[in-house]
Every structure is written in C-alpha cells, then in structure tokens.
C-alpha cells in the first residue's frame, strides 16, 4: 500500500515573519478564535490550507484522522501557567491557561475548526519525532483506521525554545507544515511517500513540495 500526499501546506514563519504573522491574524479571524494561542494558530493555518489544497474547501471529511507532532508543544502557554504558579496563590490560577497547556489542545482545535471527528493523537519527541509521526500515519492508513490522515508538524520559537536551541539542545524552527495523506493513488496530487522506519527524510519531502 502506498501513502500519497493529497494536500500540502506550510507556514514557515521563521523564513517569512511578516507574511506569517499576517496569515495567523487572518486565520484567527476566519475561525473566530479570539483567545487562542499562537501555537494552535500555527497548526491550524497549515492544516486548513492543506485541506483546501486537496478539496478547495477549508474543511476535512468527518472521518479524517489527525496526527500532530511537536517537540515542545504549546510551550508559551505552559510557561505562562508556570509563571502564574510562581506569582499567584494556587486558588487563583486561570483554568483556560491550564486546559490550553495540554499537548493535544492544538489538534483538538484543528479537528473542531475543520470538522474532523476521526481518531486524533498528538506525538511528542525530539530527534526521532518526524520519523515516528510518518510511521504512525502510515500505520493508520495501512490498518484502515481512517480514510485519510492529516499529519501536522508544528513548533514555536519563544525565548525558552530559543534558549534550548542556543544551548545546542534542539534545533527548533518556528512554523508548521501539514500533509493530507491518502492510501488511494487517485488522490495523489503531490507525490508518494515511502515510509522507512530507519530513516527520516521529512526535510527532503518538505523542500520538494515547497518547490512545486
């Protein structure tokens, strides 16, 4: 069984900061998400455009599965919550900050906004994360767990993740990329992905799609 890229989009804010921020502002307005954090918007921006790239609509068919992969997750809001813990008594913390600090909040918003009710997982990790995410998508499609998978990679640069990069702990970039994957050759719009558990060629796939 093959795995085909039926739709693709990316928002590399690190490469085009002004255009990126304006795109995020547009997504915030489009989906009426006044209070949503930037990490979630990054994920949603690419996800909605990948759906549109496939069908012309910023919607997914309801059975679509979602896999979101991120190293630090919503780090900005996690730190916000932790700093509140330092500054305020334990009975004065903001519930919304806590509920949005969980790793899967962004995937949940993507599902809500794009109307996807299929299986949904968020993956965490570092050097092996991208390989693991492709493998999970391939597994879901092979086992007919859902008819298509929207695979989203997202991370956000904030002072803490910049610090992690500067210390050589990570090489996080600011931005997101989303791949709508299908097992059906007739839905192949941007190429076939061969999933090899021993290798990670996400960067090659990504650069090739950007050139299309």
């Amino acid at each position: 069984m093959g795995m085909y890229v039926a739709g693709f989009s990316s928002l590399m804010t690190a490469r085009a900061p002004d255009a990126g921020e304006s795109c995020l502002a547009g997504v915030r307005k489009e989906f009426q998400l006044r209070r949503i954090d930037r990490f979630t918007l990054l994920a949603l921006a690419s996800a909605a455009s990948a759906a549109e790239d496939f069908s012309g609509e910023r919607k997914l068919v309801p059975e679509t599965g979602i896999i979101l992969a991120s190293s630090f997750g919503p780090a900005r809001i996690i730190l916000d919550y932790v700093y509140d813990m330092f500054d305020f008594p334990p009975d004065q913390l903001v519930p919304g900050k806590f509920s949005h600090s969980v790793h899967n909040a962004a995937a949940s918003y993507v599902a809500n906004c794009l109307g996807a009710c299929g299986p949904e997982i968020s993956l965490a990790g570092f050097s092996g994360l991208r390989r693991e995410a492709w493998s999970a998508a391939d597994t879901w499609l092979r086992c007919a767990y859902c008819p298509r998978v929207l695979l989203i990679f997202v991370d956000e640069l904030i002072p803490f993740t910049v610090f992690s990069n500067e210390k050589g702990c990570t090489r996080i970039e600011d931005g997101s990329a989303a791949f709508l994957l299908s097992p059906r050759p007739e839905e192949n719009r941007r190429g076939e992905v061969f999933c090899d558990c021993a290798a990670d060629n996400t960067a090659d796939i990504f650069e090739r799609l950007l050139q299309q």
């Binding site: 309801p62 979602i66 190293s71 630090f72 997750g73 996690i78 730190l79 919550y81 932790v82 700093y83 813990m85 330092f86 008594p89 334990p90 009975d91 913390l93 903001v94 519930p95 806590f98 509920s99 600090s101 969980v102 790793h103 899967n104 909040a105 995937a107 949940s108 918003y109 599902a111 809500n112 996807a116 009710c117 299929g118 299986p119 949904e120 997982i121 968020s122 993956l123 965490a124 990790g125 570092f126 050097s127 092996g128 994360l129 693991e132 493998s135 999970a136 391939d138 597994t139 879901w140 092979r142 086992c143 767990y145 803490f160 610090f163 992690s164 210390k167 702990c169 990570t170 558990c197």
Partner: protein, 388 residues
C-alpha cells in the same frame, strides 16, 4: 478480530502500579475491596489526592521509576528480558500527559530570572521522548512513539502498538503509559472546578468531582505467530479498539457523546462482535458531572438495559495519561476472575443515568469486556479485552 484470527493481538504480559496496587497481584486483590480514602491533601485547595510512595534513584524522576516498575513486571510476565536479541524487533509506544512537558519549576524559575547555571535538566529532557529513552535502555529496535493525548494517551498507545503488529512493523510491542502527580495538574484541575473535596464518587447522585492519582501500566502485545513460535501462552488478547473525536469543545465532552459512541462502535466493529458480546464496561467515570452523564447515556444507548458498568477511579483516582492502560489491565484481571466489583463509593446512582452502575460485586460469564476513555480536546477511545 476473533480469537482465532491470525491477525489477533495476544496480550502476552502486563504490569502496573497504581493506587490499586504495587503490582498486578496486589491489584487483583484490591479491586474487590472497599477503597481506602485518598492518602494526601493539598491543604490550600482542600483537595485530596492519591500519591504513590516509590524509591526514586538519583538522576531519575518519579515517572521513570513508576514506568520501570511496570515495565519489569510486564516483561517478566511475558517471558521477555531487556537487552535480549529479540528486543531488536520489539516496538514501544507510551502515553503521558505531563511527562512530555518541560515544566520543572526550579529550572523555569531560574530561567525567568536569567539565572540558569546548569542546563543538564533541559539537556536530559531534549535527549529523547520518554519512549525513546526507555527503548534505548531496553535495547528496543522496533518502532517507537510517545503519545500525549491527555487522559486517553495510554489507550491510544495500546491501539497504535496493536496496529504496528497488524501492519507488520514489529511482532511484539510494549504499550502503556505513565503520569505522576505534580503541582501543575493539581492546581490546573482545581482551577477547572472539577476536583472533589472528598473521595471521588463516580456516577453517584452526590458526586462532587475527581481525585487525582498517579501510576504506570504496560501491556505486552504480540502476534499469534510470535507467541506460538516462542511457546508463550496467555489467556488474553486485544479484541478491538477504536477512537474518535467530538470536534466540539476543548474540555467538555459532546453533550450527546458523539465521539464516544463512534469510538465504541468502531471498537466493536473491529473486534467483529456486537454489544451483546460485551460482558461489562470498565468506564472512564471520573466523577465529574459532564463525564458521568455523557458516558452513562452513551453506554446505555449502545448496550441497552443489560449494560453492566462501573468506574475504578474511586480506587485509583484519575491517573491521567496512565488511566487508559491501567483500566485495560483491571479489565483483563476481572475477565480472568469472571467477577466484577461494585462501583465503589456510589451509594445512590444519579437518577439521570438511563442505567445505574453496578452497586454490588457480581460474577460474570463472558469472553469480552470493554474499557472506555475520554479526554480534554474531545478525544475518546475504547479498548476491547478478550479472554481465550
């Protein structure tokens, strides 16, 4: 997936530590005894919780210790040894809610004050996910993944690991999860207004919220062919699994349980069985009004009047990312005993529930049982345990 299908996933071992017991043998006894009250209190919040006391070696955190205990028990039960040649074709899929976040309070306080002198903690965190680090220690060479899907994390880990085997990515996979109590979930769940000031009472008319708990659980999944080839016999198999999203709200379940119903029906369909084949349901049952009403209503809609269900969170508290796999293990133990406990701490069932939970221990006859999990973000999962 029937028990005779070559695609069947054998559960060839299990290990778990939770407030229900330090291992599966102790858990087996405690599931049928009235639970002790929560053993710790967060005084400023008047909030009881269930803390485990385990030795934590220097250089390790509590989650690693809990996970180590569950892994050792599961591997021994399955007749596997860490580092053996076979482990090079084994997969490892773990779920956790808190252990994927870098939230060390001392480090972050230093960071905020520009006073970080030693990056070791951060370097350790970014050196790999919890599954990657465990895989390295155990000599595991197959697929690896760490899922962070709030309270369904480890249930989803079991499903993904099962599909690795079904898709030929490995012959054996360890699957499970871990979560430990820390200040972040304690204050966070309190802020959400869903914690109880007493022992939690799932499905009770006078329930007042959840208690937090902690723990770790691991199941060893294996293809029939692999188990037969090494002569390992187990009474259990994973009959089916399903997952679906509500696409509704960040914390509240869909009022009509849209996602949960879909997840349950998907698991039944993948197992190739009907609702009448399920002898009982070990429900998520957190003891919050939103969860209990949604879950009780959906289960009654699918299973009808003959539904037998209960929650074990009155024994363990809510172990978050570890809850899915721990409750699968409890379900396997009950299938093996052919006996289910009452829904402890439920004196008067909520009259809005179409079918009341089990109020007394009861013997059962059957080969299949279900464990359900719900989470923030509207994620729902159902696992079906089978007994040969």
């Amino acid at each position: 997936m029937s028990s005779s299908d070559s695609n069947t996933i054998v559960i060839s071992g299990m290990g778990g530590i939770s407030p229900a017991g330090q291992d599966c043998a102790e858990t087996r006894r405690n599931l049928y005894l009235p639970p002790l009250p929560p053993n710790r209190m967060y005084p400023a919040l008047k909030m009881p919780f269930r803390l485990l006391i385990v030795p934590v070696p220097k250089g390790r955190n509590k989650s690693e210790s809990l996970l180590g205990i569950a892994l050792r028990e599961a591997l021994a039960d399955a007749g596997l040894t860490s580092g053996e040649e076979r482990m090079r074709r084994v997969g490892l899929c773990l779920g956790s809610s808190g252990d994927v976040q870098f939230n060390d309070l001392y480090f972050l306080n230093d960071f905020r004050n520009n006073a970080v002198r030693d990056e070791t903690l951060l370097r350790n965190f970014t050196s790999g996910s919890i599954a990657e680090k465990c895989a390295k220690e155990l000599g595991i060479g197959g697929p690896v993944a760490t899922i962070s899907n709030a309270c369904v994390s480890s249930a989803d880990a079991v499903s993904l690991a099962a599909m690795w085997i079904q898709s030929g990515k490995c012959d054996i996979a360890l699957a499970g999860g871990v979560d430990r109590i820390s200040k972040m979930p304690l204050t966070g769940f309190h802020a959400l207004g869903v914690t109880s000031e007493g022992a939690c009472r799932p499905f009770d008319r006078d329930r007042s919220g959840l208690n937090l708990g902690e723990g770790a659980g691991i199941v060893v999944l294996e293809s029939v062919r692999s188990a037969a080839a090494r002569g390992h016999k187990s009474p259990f198999f994973l009959a089916g699994f399903g997952a679906a999203g509500d696409a509704y709200h960040i914390t509240a379940p869909h009022a009509e349980g849209r996602g949960l119903e879909k997840a349950v029906r998907m698991a039944l369909s993948r197992a190739g069985i009907g609702p009448d084949d399920i002898s009982f349901v070990n429900a998520h049952g957190t003891g919050t009004e939103a969860n209990d009403l949604c879950e009780g209503t959906v289960l009654a809609r699918i299973f009808g009047e003959r539904l037998r269900y209960f929650s074990t969170k009155s024994i363990t508290g809510h172990t978050l990312g570890a809850a899915g796999v721990l409750e699968l293990i409890f379900t396997l133990i009950m299938l093996d005993e052919q006996r289910i406990p009452p829904n402890w701490n439920c004196a008067v069932p909520d009259p809005r529930l179409p079918v009341p939970p089990m109020l007394e221990a009861s013997s059962i006859r059957g080969s299949f049982a279900m464990s359900t999990s719900l989470a923030f973000g509207g994620c729902n999962a159902a696992l079906i345990a089978g007994r040969f």
